[in-house]
């Protein structure tokens, strides 16, 4: 066994500390490498660092630490050999190496190759079997009784009594003699307790001792009348009287006294967990290709732009489940993907909370809000190349979000990305479930397997890792983004700009379709199949929505003509024309909502929609008190596809990020004035931060950029290690 104290090994062993130090952890914003270096130093030597290292020690590592704790904090090479005879040697070596690298163990080759447990950890370690020497473990009188039971003359001092008991149990022959004296029930019970408890304590229920028997046992300080006691209770009394087993009647726990363990002549842990390293398989190189998620993002924006989703009354920065479900159905994708998209878009700020109505006063005050597109940021979004938009989505996913995002969630994401980045580019994990079990064991904070599963699902949706039953590994795009995000914007993506348009409304495009063309396509077509060539199906409802959002049917047809190397079929052209024709036949106006149609028959159809509660006031005009958005949605459901014209006077003002910027700038100015009047560093820092925020808010295009690395990468870790040096 050789222990490494290199910082890089420390980062490998406890990546969560490094992830936090690099600014991706809970409550941080990305920092410079020098800032990260300082934080790493500080975290590593702190109690947080030790706890984090323990959390990431894995089941095997924790059992090894438990063993050393049971042995009093140190373990010699001989003890190691004896105690870990049944453990897999490679797992053992890996665990020792990792625990040493993490600073939880220290290896001393001069002192009989002894492993020492981290002092801070030793102090905190709970759950190890008590020693007779522990404070309040046994009274001097109880020790005297044990001595007499063992046919030892009790010395006068308590410490000496413990020593003679300990010496007797450590002597192989004497220990065996005591064991032989035990009744068969006591031997069986002792074996059960030793098997289950090992170096720790167990609940008495585990070995069939009821709480009542425990309370009435010889070791209990609360003696109770003894009725109907079974043989197990008598056996327990026997073991307690011999000083082999200890009892905590209050906690309901049992253990084998540390001093008595040598009598059993067996290791503390007969079994060691197998470390399940997920199987690695060869992974073929993937093309540089943006995920279908980007199409869905555009479609979601299109949908939410036309139908602003309601804000939650509790103010949380997320959409209501019903809205997510509805949008998922509309986009033909899962609710999880829509949830991901909505959180990211809300995080980027593309959807801003707008107050759409207020009513009542005081406790009856009711404020209705809706998430509406920020026109400023939307302009910056649409003018950014699609690669940058994708990067921004990934960036948002890797950063701390609003207060509803748990620190743990963010840590999970970065831990998974770290593990995936640590793989060679040509291999991947063969099986997702193995990865889940492995991560669950290796990083306790990640917790349940479903936490890993949902992170992996997000990574697949974002296009960072491969999905669809392929080995789990970073895609070429994912590796590029996480190691050098600047390269993504300048990288050459698909260059193909042709796709075959067929009469059955499908469009077959090669895998390397230009992403901008693909983004245009998904505005009017559903993706039918994506694993290889890209197959789209033109959708009448999507074309309608696209036209409602300003697309021109002739332009759509021209786009398809340019796209297709063969003439586009008549059925396709008609589909576009028919879908476009529906737009604007009915107009909805705000105020007390007014519906105007070009065709009186359409007005009759509209009036038949009960939800809209329309009342015809002329052959082509109807009015209602129902909100315009609701009327519009109801009419759309009936297939009328109305235009909405927002009234100029009464319509609510749509929030824009530029307005926010002005407010922020005003706050920053106040802070700067205060800073000028004070020498306090806090004022200066606050003013600087507000000024930066205001500046960022006033430049929407800057908010589309990714300004730092997306996660802790091995390269970044190496830089941190070099600059940090070895604190020891």
């Amino acid at each position: 066994v050789s222990a490494s104290s290199e910082t890089i090994d420390y980062i490998r062993a406890v990546p969560l500390v490094a992830i936090t130090a690099a600014g991706f952890g809970p409550g941080n914003s990305a920092e410079t490498t020098s800032g990260a270096r300082k934080r790493l130093e500080s975290l590593r030597s702190s109690s947080t660092g030790v706890v984090t290292a323990l959390d990431t020690a894995g089941l095997f590592g924790r059992q090894l630490l438990g063993l050393i704790a049971a042995l009093g904090g140190t373990m010699t090479a001989e003890q190691l050999t004896h105690e870990t005879a049944n453990a897999n040697k490679a797992d053992l070596q890996g665990a020792i190496h990792r625990l040493c690298a993490a600073g939880l163990l220290e290896y001393d080759e001069h002192e009989r190759s002894t492993l020492h447990m981290n002092g801070m950890l030793m102090q905190w370690w709970h759950g190890r079997a008590p020693s007779m020497e522990d404070e309040h473990a046994l009274t001097s009188g109880q020790l005297g009784s044990i001595c007499r039971k063992l046919q030892l003359k009790p010395p006068s001092r308590k410490k000496e009594r413990i020593d003679v008991i300990s010496d007797l149990f450590s002597d192989t022959d004497l220990g065996a003699t005591v064991f032989l004296e035990l009744s068969s029930h006591a031997k069986a019970l002792l074996t059960s307790i030793a098997d289950e408890a090992g170096a720790g304590t167990i609940s008495a229920e585990v070995v069939g001792i009821t709480h009542f028997w425990l309370m009435s046992s010889a070791g209990s300080p609360y003696p109770m009348p003894q009725h109907n006691r079974g043989p197990e209770a008598a056996a327990l009394d026997e073991l307690v009287e011999y000083g082999i087993v200890g009892v905590d009647a209050y906690e309901g726990e049992l253990w084998v006294w540390r001093e008595a363990w040598p009598m059993l002549a067996r290791p503390y842990f007969p079994e060691w967990p197998a470390v399940t390293q997920p199987r690695l398989v060869a992974q073929s190189e993937t093309d540089l290709r943006l995920p279908p998620l980007m199409g869905l993002v555009e479609r979601a924006l299109q949908h939410w732009g036309a139908n602003p989703p309601a804000g939650l009354k509790n103010g949380e920065q997320r959409l209501a489940k019903t809205e997510v479900r509805r949008t998922a159905k509309l986009l033909g994708t899962s609710e999880e993907v829509v949830e991901l998209i909505s959180r990211v878009l809300l995080g980027v700020g593309l959807l801003l909370r707008n107050v759409i109505s207020t009513s009542g006063r005081g406790r009856t005050r009711d404020v209705k809000t809706a998430w509406m597109i920020d026109p400023d940021l939307m302009e910056a979004w649409t003018s950014s190349p699609i690669q940058r938009r994708w990067l921004r989505v990934v960036d948002e996913w890797t950063r701390p979000g609003d207060e509803t995002m748990s620190d743990q969630l963010l840590a999970n994401r970065h831990l998974l990305m770290w593990e995936l980045l640590s793989l060679e580019p040509d291999v991947g994990f063969a099986d997702g479930e193995q990865v889940e079990r492995w991560i669950e064991d290796r990083y306790e904070p990640v917790g349940a397997a479903n936490a890993v599963r949902s992170c992996l699902a997000d990574l697949v949706a974002l296009g960072l890792i491969t999905g669809d039953g392929e080995p789990i590994a970073l895609t070429a795009l994912g590796r590029l983004a996480l190691t050098d995000s600047d390269q993504v914007v300048s990288a050459t993506f698909g260059s193909a700009d042709e796709a075959v348009v067929q009469a059955d409304h499908t469009i077959v495009a090669p895998p390397d379709l230009n992403p901008d063309v693909a983004a245009r396509l998904v505005r009017i077509a559903d993706i039918e199949s994506d694993g290889g060539a890209q197959v789209y199906r033109l959708s009448e409802s999507l074309v309608t929505t696209a036209v409602q959002n300003g697309d021109n049917p002739d332009e759509i047809c021209r786009f398809l003509e340019q796209l297709s190397p063969v003439p586009i079929p008549d059925t396709v052209r008609r589909l576009v024309e028919d879908a476009a024709k529906r737009v604007g036949k009915v107009k909805v106006m705000a105020a007390t909502t007014v519906v105007v149609t070009t065709d009186p028959a359409d007005l009759i159809t509209a009036c038949a929609v009960k939800v809209a509660k329309l009342e015809a006031v002329a052959p082509t005009v109807a009015i209602t008190n129902v909100a315009a958005a609701k009327v519009r949605a109801a009419l759309e459901r009936r297939g009328l596809a109305p235009d909405v014209i927002v009234g100029t006077d009464d319509a609510p003002e749509v929030r824009r990020s530029s307005d926010e910027a002005a407010a922020l700038e005003a706050r920053a100015k106040v802070a700067r004035d205060a800073a000028e009047r004070s020498d306090h560093a806090g004022f200066q820092q606050h003013a600087r931060r507000l000024t930066e925020e205001a500046s960022l808010a006033s430049d929407p295009s800057a908010r589309m950029k990714v300004t730092g690395p997306l996660t802790l990468t091995p390269d970044l870790a190496r830089v941190m290690a070099r600059t940090t040096g070895d604190p020891r």
Binding site: G532, V535, A601
Partner: protein
């Protein structure tokens, strides 16, 4: 690695796109036919799907995993994803691990496999009830009548059974020969179904376009099996047409061919029956009664020693016949259809009970070879007058389709088409009887509906075939199995909502190749901006997926 000249694109969702313009497309099509199902065949890229069922059927036919993977990798433009390779390996390795054999000890059937797998499947819901006594670690007894249901349940679990129990031969026919020549694709499809008479063959579905001669393949199957045969078809007209064809194209005599319909009950070595007669329900029994008590005519399946059952238009198979078919898995079965689309989505049941799809030919491919007539499809949109538009708007939603479909604005367009095709044999097809009665009166043409007496129908069809009647107005009775070789124009006035299958079957009435090689014309008159135009788009989908393209034109304003 990219090979642009190769014809296949293998998608990770197990679909395979075949580029029809590639030089090696025909070879690729032949390869794909062995282990994938043709899903659609539009003009440039045909879509095949590799399903567990198609892979298991390939395994039955002796195709190996390596052959499947070699075909995919050697013909694919792009690298084949690992997920596809793994799925092919996994699914094909499942076939043959469960075997159904004749058991000499019990004189019944036995399900054989390794103990662990038997344990697994026997605990599955739906399977346990179909298994009898456990004979030993590797065998379960199976009742003869549960053969189909057990196979269906195991298939649903993802464990296909190698059915090695063989067939009952049925009563043998005397010398019988086919007097007509088989076309190459007909011979191929027959071979794919028969599989040299092995127990792996002898069941399944053949999918060929209307007019491609499916009946002839059925006759060839009778001749090949040479055993008593029950033919089930859709209507009395179709029964008689089958009988005519049998007498015309085989050496079988009238004494050997019987009609089992509401009109006649002749039980003969070759008996042709309708689905309606088979599923006539005795109302004195409730729904939970035994199948043959409630549907007494289904006893026809069991009472005679049939060696072959042919299901014409198998996509119409009604539920009781499904259940009866599950019990007669020891009889060879052949399903024939042009459009294996069931709006109830029960295509899977057809495959598991009748057998897998054994052959499928793209319509346009047969058209190119001249085996079916080329067809020109045109949709003509008419606009409602303002008055009718208002009336349409006032109609409640569920009745709007009818109002749009029966719009009188369609009639001038009909007149113009008839004028254009005054020298042709024209079918005017519709859904609504009132509309058809008005049209028949207007154009002075005979009308055939479900209410028309069978004898009148037969006579009228005969006159139409003979060219004595140039225009025939028909309801949905002409959707299936009616052979009208000289019809070359069809005008569809109305249809059953968005039924893709009906659209394809109606076009199918025109696809018998014409003597002069001329094209058939299929017109659909649709009311624009209405429920009907929405349904029309769905109806056209199947034909578009078969490579037909519609020209859509607007009729001049009716005013």
């Amino acid at each position: 690695m990219i090979s642009p000249d190769k014809p296949l694109i293998v998608q990770s969702d197990m679909t395979v796109l075949l580029e029809t313009g590639a030089a090696s497309a025909p070879a690729a099509r032949a390869e794909l036919a062995r282990f994938a199902e043709l899903e659609k065949a539009p003009e440039h890229f045909h879509t095949y799907r590799i399903t567990p069922l198609s892979l298991w059927n390939a395994a039955v036919a002796g195709v190996t995993v390596d052959q499947v993977l070699a075909a995919l990798t050697s013909l694919a433009k792009y690298d084949v994803a690992d997920v596809v390779v793994n799925e092919v390996r996994d699914q094909m390795s499942r076939y043959g691990r469960l075997r159904l054999v004749r058991d000499v000890d019990t004189a019944g059937l036995a399900l054989l496999s390794e103990p662990a797998l038997l344990e697994e499947v026997s605990r599955a819901k739906g399977v346990a009830a179909l298994l009898g006594e456990r004979l030993d670690g590797n065998r379960f007894a199976v009742r003869l009548g549960d053969r189909g249901a057990l196979k269906q349940s195991l298939l649903a679990l993802g464990w296909p059974v190698a059915d090695e129990a063989g067939y009952e031969q049925g009563v043998e026919l005397g010398e019988v020969e086919l007097t007509a020549d088989l076309r190459s694709y007909q011979a191929d499809s027959l071979g794919a179904w028969w599989l040299d008479g092995s127990s792996a063959g002898g069941n399944g579905v053949l999918t060929l376009p209307c007019g491609a001669g499916k009946t002839v393949i059925g006759l060839a199957a009778i001749v090949t099996a040479r055993s008593r045969t029950l033919v089930v078809c859709t209507s009395v007209s179709a029964v008689r047409q089958w009988i005519r064809e049998i007498l015309d194209k085989t050496t079988l005599t009238e004494d050997e061919v019987g009609e089992w319909t509401g009109h006649r009950k002749q039980l003969r070595p070759i008996t042709v029956v309708t689905y309606n007669v088979l599923t006539w329900a005795d109302s004195s029994f409730d729904r939970d009664a035994d199948l043959t008590d409630r549907f007494p005519n289904l006893a026809l399946f069991d009472d005679e020693q049939w060696g072959l059952i042919i299901y014409d238009e198998v996509h119409l198979l009604p539920a009781p016949v499904f259940r009866a078919t599950a019990r007669i898995q020891a009889v060879r079965r052949l399903g024939l259809t042009a459009t294996l689309i069931r709006e109830d989505g029960k295509e899977g049941d057809v495959f598991s009970l009748i057998g897998p799809k054994r052959y499928d030919a793209p319509w346009t491919e047969l058209e190119a070879l001249g085996w079916i007539a080329p067809a020109i499809c045109t949709e003509i949109r008419v606009a409602l007058t303002d008055e009718h538009r208002m009336s349409y708007a006032l109609t409640e939603l569920r009745k709007r389709h009818r109002v749009a479909a029966t719009a009188v604005e369609k009639l001038p367009v009909l007149d113009r088409i008839l004028e254009l095709h005054r020298d042709d044999q024209v079918l005017v097809i519709g859904q609504f009887i009132g509309q058809l009665q008005d049209v028949a009166k207007r154009i002075d043409a005979p009308l055939l509906t479900g209410r028309t007496a069978q004898s009148t129908r037969d006579q009228t069809f005969a006159k139409f075939r003979a060219g004595e009647i140039p225009v025939l107005v028909v309801s949905k009775i002409a959707n299936f199995s009616i052979d009208l070789p000289d019809a070359n124009v069809a005008i569809q006035l109305s249809g059953q909502f968005g039924s893709r299958q009906e659209e394809a079957q109606r076009l199918g009435r025109l696809l018998r190749p014409k003597a002069d090689g001329a094209s058939a014309h299929f017109y659909t008159i649709v009311t624009g901006d209405s429920e009907e135009s929405r349904f029309a788009r769905n109806r056209q989908r199947f034909l578009a997926e078969q490579g037909y393209s519609y020209e859509i034109i607007d009729a001049e304003s009716p005013t």
